[in-house]
């Protein structure tokens, strides 16, 4: 998983042509909670991870989303 993969997924879900890592999901990209759920579903399916509801609520930027997905990919010891 790379940051570019996440940028592409966000652009596709939100119907945007250009998305930057530090774009604010709500203020800049106009994401709604439904969009975040769809993004979470897509990420969970693609990377076989589980994204907790509490963590989704904390997301601000596309980079935050990447960091969250990446964190949940890491094997737990």
């Amino acid at each position: 998983m790379t940051l570019n993969d996440i940028l592409d997924m966000v652009a596709l879900q939100l119907g945007q042509t250009k998305v930057q890592p530090d774009d604010h999901l709500y203020g800049d990209l106009g994401a709604e909670s439904m969009d975040l759920v769809h993004l979470a579903i897509a990420l969970e399916d693609r990377y076989q991870i589980t994204l907790p509801e509490e963590d989704l609520a904390d997301l601000r930027t596309v980079r935050d989303l990447y960091a969250l997905a990446d964190r949940h990919r890491e094997p737990t010891s």
């Binding site: 604010h24 709500y26 203020g27 709604e32 439904m34 759920v37 979470a40 509801e53 509490e54 609520a57």
Partner: protein
């Protein structure tokens, strides 16, 4: 501090308070709770940090204004002996029925229930114009942080200082596409759509529209929660159905209330949804700035006896998504004062069949030093024009909590309990 005129939403809250005594009440349940003197000191520090806790609301010729109180009275804190675990909700219910006097201020008051075993409940009533759920949670966070730090005899760090300026109202912070002439251009079709939907809804749902006939009535509350595993299962299933937890809860509320209260036939159901505007404003407004930055949206959807939880949830979600893509959350915030003025003038119709304010995870830590936060609740005074059944939902410590509000004129305690039971059944076995 510069006083300012109230924004549209703040004005709507003030009108509702004047007509029906609207109060927002928060409950915080604690173990290893701080002594009352420590809480009192923390409360004074929090009041000093936030300009909206130092004001009253005064009427002017055309509108209302926030005006600084001088001399500044401290936020009232009444300390009572905690009787049992039910005492906090009984106290919250009592405070929900005691309107604040906005022209006197301050616009917050508290009751602290204290037991010898260091269990305690802090119940605070706010004027809704100065506080929404994110800022109320932040206010509690500051109070608990200060209480926890009091042992070390220092307060919040100086770099945590907040400007002593009241933040602008929501309509002054809307995205550029919703200001000036662009706003007017969007408002016209929005209002036509609202009128058309309203007429259609009124024609087909007379019974559900009628407000209770014999005011005044008292507000009553109930509170329930799902276990952590039930909450996780509901989140998982909502994701599988491609709907948000918010949509699932709203659908469950509508389903329960329509089936229990209007079993014969209600072809359309209307839900009042409250959304957080803070992250969408320019610039975004952080929760540490107290204020009311919410949008109240009405969603009208078809309801059939065969409607399942998921068909209703999808229908609500699509309706909300379409409305938000048209920017209606901004437009409804702009229009809230006028909508409330109109509703109060006629007093003919209820605003919806049910209402839900779902705020997601509450931004409170489970512990502050040795203080443990075991539970959080939130309530808003219902009135004869608001839906007969309203709820405030949130996640805390991995559990979904639901706080319900209703008026005694609309239903008795057994009917309310039966509604809650039906809702929980739906959520536990969707």
């Amino acid at each position: 501090m510069h006083p300012r005129a109230l924004g549209s939403l703040e004005h709507a809250m003030t009108l509702t308070n004047r007509a029906f005594g609207l109060v927002a009440v928060g409950v915080l349940r604690l173990r290893q709770a701080p002594p009352p003197a420590v809480l009192q000191r923390a409360l004074q520090q929090v009041q000093a940090r936030h300009p909206l806790l130092q004001v009253r609301i005064v009427p002017t010729k055309k509108t209302y204004r926030f005006e600084r109180l001088s001399p500044l009275p401290t936020i009232p804190l009444k300390v009572l002996e905690r009787r049992d675990d039910h005492h906090a909700l009984a106290q919250a219910q009592q405070m929900l029925n005691e309107p604040l006097a906005p022209t006197e201020g301050p616009l917050m008051r508290c009751v602290y229930l204290v037991a010898p075993d260091q269990r305690a409940d802090l119940i605070c009533a706010f004027h809704h114009a100065i506080m929404d759920a994110p800022s109320a949670a932040h206010c509690y966070h500051e109070l608990l942080t200060l209480c926890a730090r009091s042992a070390a005899e220092h307060g919040l760090a100086e770099d945590d200082a907040l400007p002593q300026t009241i933040q602008p109202a929501a309509e002054a912070l809307l995205p550029p596409a919703f200001t000036g002439f662009a706003q007017v251009r969007r408002l016209v079709p929005f209002l036509f759509r609202e009128m058309r939907t309203d007429r259609h809804y009124r024609r087909r749902t007379t019974a559900a529209q009628r407000p209770s006939l014999h005011p005044p009535s008292t507000s009553h509350i109930l509170s329930e929660s799902l276990s952590a595993s039930q909450t996780q299962a509901l989140v998982r299933q909502s994701r599988q159905e491609s709907v948000t937890l918010h949509s699932t809860l709203a659908a469950a509320m509508l389903s329960a209330v329509v089936r229990q209260r209007y079993p014969a036939d209600l072809p359309l159901a209307r839900m009042l949804i409250f959304s957080n505007l803070r992250p969408y404003l320019k610039p975004p407004v952080a929760p540490e700035y107290l204020g009311c930055y919410i949008a109240m949206q009405r969603l009208t959807i078809p309801f059939a006896p065969t409607s399942t939880l998921w068909t209703l949830a999808r229908s609500l979600q699509e309706s909300l998504h379409a409305a938000n893509k048209r920017g209606e959350k901004y437009l409804s915030a702009v229009m809230s004062k006028h909508i409330m003025q109109q509703a109060l003038r006629t007093q003919n119709d209820r605003m919806a069949t049910a209402a839900l304010s779902y705020v997601g995870p509450v931004k409170l830590q489970p512990t502050y030093g040795s203080i443990e936060v075991t539970d959080v609740h939130g309530f808003i005074t219902p009135n004869r024009l608001s839906p007969e059944w309203s709820a405030f939902g949130h996640l805390f410590r991995g559990q979904l909590h639901l706080d319900f509000m209703y008026m005694r004129n609309d239903m008795d305690a057994a009917a309310a309990q039966s509604l809650v039971h039906a809702l929980l059944e739906l959520l536990r076995n969707p």
